[in-house]
Amino acid sequence: MASLDTIYPAVPIKVKAATNQEPLWVRVILISISLTFIGLFLFLPLAAIMTEALRKGIGAYLESFQDEDALAAIKLTLIAAAISVPANLVFGAAAAWALAKFDFRGRNVLVTLIDLPFAVSPVIAGLVFVLLFGLQGWLGPWLSEHDIKIIFAVPGIVLCTIFVTFPFVARELIPLMQEQGNEEEMAALVLGASGWKTFWRVTVPNVKWALLYGVILCNARAMGEFGAVSVVSGHIRGKTNTMPLHVEVLYNEYNFVAAFAVASLLAMLALVTLALKSLVEWRMNRTDVETIPPGKE
């Protein structure tokens, strides 16, 4: 039906409408299903968080952020993200580059390993670090002797965050780099560019939007991670609680306004992430169209 109309449009105006020729009721049902879904699973919880946070007025809401422990939690979350995101950026780019541009023995194993943090439950990830660095663990006694704290302190939280966010950057880059192949790099090398220069001038510009996309997702997860961090945190108020953990603490202390106030910050972070993600996606599509030479589609 649709194709007939497109090929032989009875009235020129109909050409534009030809793309949605489904019966009205199908469209109405599909649209209302998706709207209900979005309403129930996105807007309702968001609205709930905001109403709970503002239950005792904007004053009480803002006061929640004056609390030292809340500030410490926000600071710790920012520190964890500020360390783990760049670290994953470097690891991820390096891993993707190695996997996409070279063929070597064990390559497939490496691809699988990169996905491991996605496959493993975050709680298990946390427990692995306890086994490694805990006082009864492999390295624990040595660390304790030298007064180095890993778990139940900031380094453990950062390590866990790096672990659970590891795949984000690499996963975004690998397919793109593979698709692009290494012809452009070859050309650059043939023209006399150094390896380093080739990387910065050819490889990076080609993948920068995917890279940014990975970083944004990685950051969102780094700030929102609960499970793994919960295992290694020790839950010391004002010291080793990240924002998600602090929300739990406040909730458990019947401090609902403050709990939802901190939760609202995390929700806002999610919205900002979403906006940035859409922006990057839009730029990605645009640069794709711009840079792909005619005929190479």
Binding site: A87, K149, N252
Partner: protein, 365 residues
């Protein structure tokens, strides 16, 4: 042209990680910098959150007046078993204030951070306060729950935490067990008298069935007492919550008396939360003196007053405010030593892997 310009911008942007790597290095070195003697870490169990907020402020004031030194007390809360595990794994508590003696002994045995005979080091078996287990039901008690027998009736949903991770849950479990024993034997003294061995064995069998039936009515086991309270009060799940007396009163205080009320059973258990210094950690941090004073101050008149205010039964009631004491319901309390032969035996029989709890508890449905 455009491409090259963009790539330059990007190079600048990507150098950020180098700066942050430096931050990482500085962050790592900054963390272990403990200011000697000025910080204490108290690793505690779930319901003591509010108690120690007030007590810590009072102790800091006392310590400042006495010695002129500032002290900051940091808190960590969770199910007692879980918290003990964290200290064993290296959470550097200067003092532990946990729900029951066994969890503290476990730290002594597994991590050797203090002597195993720690319990004799402070008065009253190192229990500055005690508590008991009561029921919290919905306002008006719509299911008519009056005693332990009502908890095993079909269709009653009981909320209690997981005995593997929570101290309160183990007290709940043992209180139910003791109730069943008492019902069969009439007098709990028979438990320790050899001539009644056959009766006691039969009563223990009945108690096992009784507790199994009770656990069948439990839809969800949270990891700590506070989690169970929020499950019951906030999420509205269940008909009755088995709770620490202090936790039940606090829930009513915090959430208003129009939603829940306390029911006191005919018999319950004397719950004895214990405290101790973690010698090795305190020595390492140079906090032994202040940590010891912190625990001793719990027994002082001021400490006892705060304890009673937060619905814990003070070990020296004469120091507490009589109005606070009047709030505690009268209830027949049995002790773990008299009925179960102490915590070590109770833990090994009931809660360790392969114990009675594992045998009778099947996650429901």
């Amino acid at each position: 042209m455009k491409k090259i310009r963009e790539s330059r911008q990007l190079t600048g942007w990507i150098n950020v990680p180098l700066a942050l790597a430096l931050l990482l290095a500085s962050g790592l070195t900054a963390v272990p910098a403990y200011a000697a003697g000025s910080e204490l870490l108290n690793v505690s169990y779930d319901p003591t959150r509010e108690l120690y907020v007030e007590y810590n402020a009072a102790f800091a004031k006392y310590w400042k007046e006495k010695t002129g030194q500032d002290v900051t007390i940091e808190q960590s809360h969770g199910g007692a078993g879980k918290q003990a595990r964290a200290v064993i794994d290296g959470l550097e508590a200067d003092v532990v204030t946990l729900a029951l003696a066994y969890d503290i002994t476990a730290i002594a045995e597994k991590a050797r951070l203090f002597p195993v005979d720690w319990q004799g080091r402070l008065p009253n078996n190192s229990c500055p306060y005690t508590s008991t287990i009561v029921f919290l039901v919905r306002k008006g008690n719509p299911k008519g729950i009056k005693d332990w027998d009502d908890l095993v009736k079909p269709g009653i949903e009981v909320i209690t935490p997981n005995p593997k991770t929570s101290g309160g849950a183990r007290w709940n479990y043992l209180a139910a067990w003791a109730y069943s024993l008492k019902k069969d034997l009439g007098d709990l003294k028979k438990v320790n008298e050899p001539q009644f061995a056959a009766d006691v064995a039969k009563a223990n069998d009945n108690a096992k069935n009784f507790v199994a039936a009770l656990l069948k009515n439990v839809p969800v086991l949270d990891s700590g007492a506070r989690g169970s309270t929020t499950t019951f009060v906030q999420r509205g799940i269940g008909d009755v919550l088995l709770a620490w007396e202090n936790e039940a009163f606090l829930a009513i205080n915090e959430l208003g008396p129009d939603s829940v009320e306390v029911v006191v059973p005919s018999l319950s258990i004397l719950a004895e939360p214990a405290v101790t210094l973690v010698d090795k950690n305190a020595k390492k941090h140079g906090t032994t003196e202040v940590a010891q004073a912190y625990l001793e101050y719990l027994y002082s008149p001021e400490g006892q007053r705060i304890v009673a205010k937060h619905f814990y039964r003070p070990s020296k009631p004469e120091s507490a405010n009589p109005a606070d004491l009047a709030r505690f319901p009268k209830v027949e309390l049995v002790t773990i030593d008299a009925v179960f032969g102490g915590w070590k035996k109770a833990q090994e029989t009931h809660f360790n892997d392969g114990g009675v709890f594992d045998a009778i508890y099947q996650p429901s449905r």
